[in-house]
Symmetry: C2
Subunit: 357 residues, 2 copies
């Protein structure tokens, strides 16, 4: 605490990301990273980069990247916004759209950065409880609000909504912005991108950190009506003209240009997820049906914190959230087939699991 801080800074509770251990020989299933490296086209973009160009500022509008995304998603480039990871895109969106009189609505259990943005920008918000099976019921969001945000598939549950459910909400919720955070959508859920030309108030946010294997490069984007995108540009250009460096722009373009690699790696992760789910169920876990690159699972009687500690002593990291209602769940990122075999084998060595049945 310092007398020099603005008053509001004293009350901030910053987001705490999953641990990034500085040692190797760890199986890291705690931050939903892709187990495969980025496309060889990304490697080529980096290794053939003409470093002399770095003396100049990058294109502040990331025009080539926006055009590449517009082509890929079949939208106009003025319907595309890009930022330094989807976290920065989300931050600007909260400022641009959610500082309203009525409260922002979001699920009780979802990406925990949403609450942090609300505190940062002094946004009034309300949590809407999930169903007992962790499902989001969008009919509960049909009441006066200053905005709605949810992740689809949701995190850390991995559960997806249908496009029909989202369209049902948009049909009645016409006066505030609805943000669908699709960080994990490429692993099997339905994207709402197809709705942006039909509804002026939906903003879809995606990231290169998961399915595109570029967490280390920090690129995220939003797709929506041109007026929403203009609102984001106004905030961005009042904050930082050049959020994406030259290599971030180039590597993101290269990643989009390798559709085959994207399909292959994504399908591999989906297959491994299904295998992992079956294995976990066979040793006493309940697993929430996942459309993401992680599974959210709870053991029949072993506490989540204890399981996390047990795995950690065997150099396997998973994510555990201590908040009530999910304190016995683990969020387990889907790694390579070998990593997931090692993970399952490790669990089978737990004295209370090995004596099951």
């Amino acid at each position: 605490m310092s007398k020099f801080w603005s008053d509001a800074i004293r009350d901030l509770t910053p987001y705490v990301p999953g641990e990034q251990p500085k040692v190797s020989n760890i199986i890291k299933l705690n931050t939903n990273e892709n187990p495969f490296g980025p496309s060889p086209k990304v490697t080529h973009a980096i290794h053939s980069f003409e470093s002399n160009k770095l003396r100049k500022y990058p294109d502040p509008d990331s025009t080539s990247l926006k055009n590449t995304l517009a082509d890929y998603y079949n939208v106009s480039s003025n319907q595309v916004f890009v930022g330094n990871g989807s976290d920065e895109v989300l931050a600007h969106a909260f400022m641009a759209f959610f500082r309203q009189k009525e409260p922002l609505l979001m699920p009780t259990i979802t990406y925990s950065f949403y609450d942090v943005y609300c505190n940062l920008y002094n946004i009034n918000y309300e949590h809407i409880p999930l169903g007992d099976d962790f499902s989001i019921d969008l009919t509960k969001y049909q009441r006066p609000n200053g905005g709605i945000i949810f992740a689809n598939p949701n995190a850390p549950t991995g559960k997806a909504l249908t496009l029909d459910a989202i369209e049902g909400l948009l049909n009645t919720n016409t006066e505030s912005v609805v943000i669908v955070d699709e960080a994990y959508v490429d692993f099997g859920a339905q994207s709402a991108v197809s709705l942006i030309n039909k509804y002026p108030n939906i903003l879809v946010i995606q990231t290169f950190s998961k399915s595109r294997s570029l967490a280390g490069m920090r690129v995220g984007f939003a797709l929506g009506n041109a007026e929403l995108i203009e609102g984001l540009e106004r905030v961005k250009n009042s904050f930082n003209s050049y959020p994406l460096d030259m290599l971030a722009q180039d590597t993101a373009i290269a990643a989009i240009q390798d559709e085959q690699y994207f399909q292959e790696t994504t399908q591999q992760i989906i297959s491994t997820r299904e295998w992992t789910t079956v294995q976990l169920e066979s040793i006493g876990f309940n697993v929430v049906p996942s459309k993401t690159n992680f599974v959210f699972a709870t053991h029949r009687y072993l506490p989540g914190a204890e399981l996390m500690g047990f795995l950690r002593t065997h150099n396997i990291l998973v994510r555990h959230f201590s908040r009530p209602g999910i304190e016995n769940h683990l969020r387990i990122t889907i790694g390579t087939p070998d990593e997931m075999s090692a993970f399952i084998d490790c669990l089978k060595k737990h004295p209370d699991i090995s004596t099951l049945d």
Copy 2:
């Protein structure tokens, strides 16, 4: 304008950076970029980068970069903050320190992004006029305030303050944060970094975009008392956990590690600046004494806008600001010796300059 925007967004006037032309064969003296590429160590860092690492998130704390900067400036690593360009560092600093009851004080003529941040965060501010010679008189800032910010050397004037003048201010201004924006300090001015252990309320902000030739990579930093740095970290961690990608961190470290290249290129720019100043004075310009990588100059009788247009028709870009008081000045970035010769030769072809004397 959109009904979906938060009210405050409607009144934003975003910052407009200098033009980044998409064609080549232009002599670009309009955005204060370094005419030399980055150090060969930067090139090596990029071309030897193991791209597979990009699947993981970068170190959210940029620990290695902070340690490298701490060693270089002989401070502790908890006195170092890093961000996505000094623009992002400034944005977080405005939020962390300047949202106060009393107004923020800044020079009438300085980096024009400061006003933009104030509008973004709803900060009350007052402009303090410069002297007729564009000097900043810090005794005028000794009155109740919620913070003080100025660039040293100032932009777009290029004029520097002495360390004694800054220390004089700090001796009396003890209750609010004083930010010294040293984007251009490496081109001949005195840095205030030596004051951060003596005064708890000074924050020095620098960038890799100018003297380190890394504008394309987006890295800036702040040095100050650990409590001020903690305030910045709180804002950063409530906004975006990972603002610096892996390559931004690696290239910035490589740039700091090549002191010889830094000294040689910086000295070359200083020599070319002095040569350019003499040449401009010989053809009827008044040039403000500069400690930066640009000169701020006005012709004895030719209007600034006309000169900018004339240069542009000859594929030379310089920056012109239309604001009253400096509307007849040009801000001219110092390029290579060849570029500056071409620039001077071009001016000598102007009919009203060639007939001088």
